[in-house]
């Protein structure tokens, strides 16, 4: 995303002054190198992107080509009147507002602590990253077991702490299902944000801090005046990344609650899956997917604008 400037300048090729036939041959060669990637990309990624937009204008069960009806924007109008859509959208926003933001704050906080260079920091950093490489299905199932109302870990722990009134069926209770899934997602993914911040912190020249120390700036001042401004571009990237990651989250919700109970943890991806593959509403499911695509696109553009404003 940040290398657009370097990309635009084609290298002067070694044989820029080749005879005509040689140049033609070179071009053919170049296309042959690109072709395999291009074929796969065009067929299974680019075509589906076009496809999802087209299908969103159809009423189609997806079972046979015969039952396709073109309905224009009817799916989008239906969406505006679908309370579950609004619920799912709202949950996605909560997911970003709490989950993604928690990952950013926790990631930044731990990165700053780790970069103090205390003994053992590398070990802890390595531990904090472990959930990031695990499968969301494994994480989902482990937490379903840990949170299970009777045998799980959380309720007995609360009871033994004298907080028995707080015990509940964490994933079965509409009030706690969504926050619980968000919490597990933060557990799984804060390490990624942390590592990006660690890389950002490493790139701040040490002299800045030394100069500030000589000027008598305390640790907190140095953090506010040097660290935070220097981390602005990284922060923009991390916020975008965590927001998009929570927006497209499917596995964890599917495994832990399947969007329930009674849509209490429904998000756009799970509602799209349910519409498309359980209710055979390929058109409506695709319309939901288009909303997801547009939201991703908007977030990316905002980030792009923020970062490029920084650079000018």
């Amino acid at each position: 995303m940040t290398t657009s400037q370097t990309v635009a300048m084609p290298l002067p090729a070694a044989g820029a002054r080749q005879p005509r036939r040689g140049r033609l041959l070179a071009a053919v060669e170049a296309y042959l190198f690109v072709l395999p990637a291009l074929v796969f990309y065009a067929l299974f990624l680019a075509l589906p992107i076009v496809g999802v937009v087209i299908i969103s204008l159809l009423d189609w069960s997806g079972i046979s080509m015969k039952d396709i009806t073109f309905v224009g924007f009817a799916n989008y109008r239906a969406m505006a009147e679908d309370p579950v859509f609004w619920q799912a959208l709202w949950h996605n926003i909560i997911f970003i507002g709490f989950g993604a933001v928690a990952m950013v704050i926790l990631g930044l906080f731990l990165a700053v602590l780790l970069e103090q260079g205390l003994r053992g920091s590398n070990l802890f950093r390595g531990i904090f990253f472990i959930p990031t490489i695990m499968s969301l299905v494994v994480v989902g199932i482990v937490f379903v077991l840990l949170l299970s109302p009777e045998l799980g870990l959380v309720n007995p722990l609360l009871r033994s702490a004298g907080l028995g009134s707080l015990t509940r069926a964490w994933l079965g209770d509409p009030a706690t299902a969504l926050p619980t899934v968000i919490g597990v997602d933060v557990w799984k993914n804060f390490g990624l944000a942390m590592f990006l911040f660690v890389a950002g912190l490493k790139s701040i020249p040490q002299e800045y801090y030394e100069a500030a120390s000589i000027d008598g700036a305390g640790a907190w001042r140095r953090f506010l005046d040097i660290t935070l401004p220097a981390l602005r571009p990284v922060t923009a990237v991390v916020i975008t990344l965590t927001s998009i990651n929570t927006l497209k989250l499917f596995d964890l919700v599917y495994v832990m609650t399947a969007g329930g109970p009674n849509h209490a943890s429904q998000v756009l991806t799970t509602w799209m899956y349910a519409q498309g593959f359980m209710f055979n509403n390929m058109g409506y499911g695709s319309a939901l997917a288009v909303v997801l695509l547009l939201m991703t696109f908007v977030i990316t553009v905002i980030q792009f604008k923020l970062v490029s404003r920084d650079e000018t």
């Binding site: 190198f33 999802v52 997801l292």
Partner: protein
């Protein structure tokens, strides 16, 4: 004065370590619990789900691997992941090399068109992808997954492009003078030099393909073809109350990524963050 400074410094050190240990426990406990539960028998779990196992009983593993078909799921995952990652490495390094090293008509347009793919969440296009695969008659085939994963090569192209761009031209020219064709220069000079970048790319894709859930969920409807994440879901349905057995299956599922992580920690972090940054 100096004494007080030292005191605040050691105090802040203690607080930092306390935070580190607390986060480490929160991160590790669920995983450790999963691992030791896999050795417990049913009655042990019902008596106290959080006590340590009384013996290192491997019965759950044996049963998960054989009767629970986990051996098969494991093999399926290997069969999907290795060709997919190898294929992605090949097509993305070829394309990245051409974009970085050749001038040809339309190269920057094509390059940008491919980079757009980086922004697209795979989840957003599952419906058309599924309908396409069904139309091609590829439901219940690993080929469907292979083709889909290869189409997600833009991240690899992006990372490798940056690397090939940084190679000094003289290095490649020297081989050219020796009469080697473009492909040989790529295969024998550029690609071996790209090993670190290739490692980063393969780790990113390995983690993603190995753990991917939504595409196998849609494409592989025959239970016997399940990959590990799908198998875990089947397992959960089948052995709902048998936590020991489920824990064994979960431990098997985590083994490969964790072992790789412990072996190549630095490369792993680089791979996952580099890929994520471009995603």
């Amino acid at each position: 004065m100096v004494g007080r400074l030292r005191l605040t410094r050691s105090l802040s050190m203690i607080v930092t370590y306390a935070i580190f240990v607390m986060v480490a426990i929160i991160v590790l406990y669920p995983l450790i619990w999963m691992f030791y539960t896999s050795f417990k028998e049913q009655w042990e779990i019902f008596r106290d789900p959080f006590s340590l196992p009384t013996s290192l009983n491997l019965a759950n593993y044996v049963e998960a691997w054989t009767r629970g078909s986990f051996g098969r799921f494991f093999f399926n995952s290997v069969l999907v992941t290795i060709p997919s990652v190898a294929g992605i490495l090949l097509v993305s390094s070829l394309a990245a090399y051409a974009f970085a090293r050749f001038t040809f008509r339309g190269s920057s347009v094509l390059f940008y068109a491919i980079l757009i793919g980086i922004m697209v969440p795979p989840q957003a296009i599952v419906i058309p992808a599924f309908l396409l695969v069904a139309r091609l008659g590829l439901i219940n085939s690993f080929a469907a997954l292979f083709l889909t994963y290869l189409s997600w090569c833009p991240v690899g192209i992006f990372i490798l492009h940056a690397f090939f761009k940084s190679l000094p031209q003289e290095l490649l020219d020297a081989a050219r003078i020796d009469g080697a064709g473009s492909f040989r220069v790529f295969w024998e000079i550029a690609l071996p030099l790209a090993k670190p970048a290739l490692a980063t790319v393969s780790i990113f894709y390995f983690v993603w393909v190995w753990n991917d859930f939504i595409y196998p969920l849609l494409y592989l409807q025959d239970d016997a073809m399940s990959t590990i994440p799908l198998g875990l879901m089947l397992f959960r349905g089948q052995y709902q109350t048998n936590w020991g057995l489920q824990a064994a299956a979960l431990s098997i599922a985590s083994f490969v990524p964790l072992a790789f992580y412990l072996l190549f920690q630095d490369k792993f972090v680089k791979g996952v963050t580099a890929g994520a940054l471009k995603g």
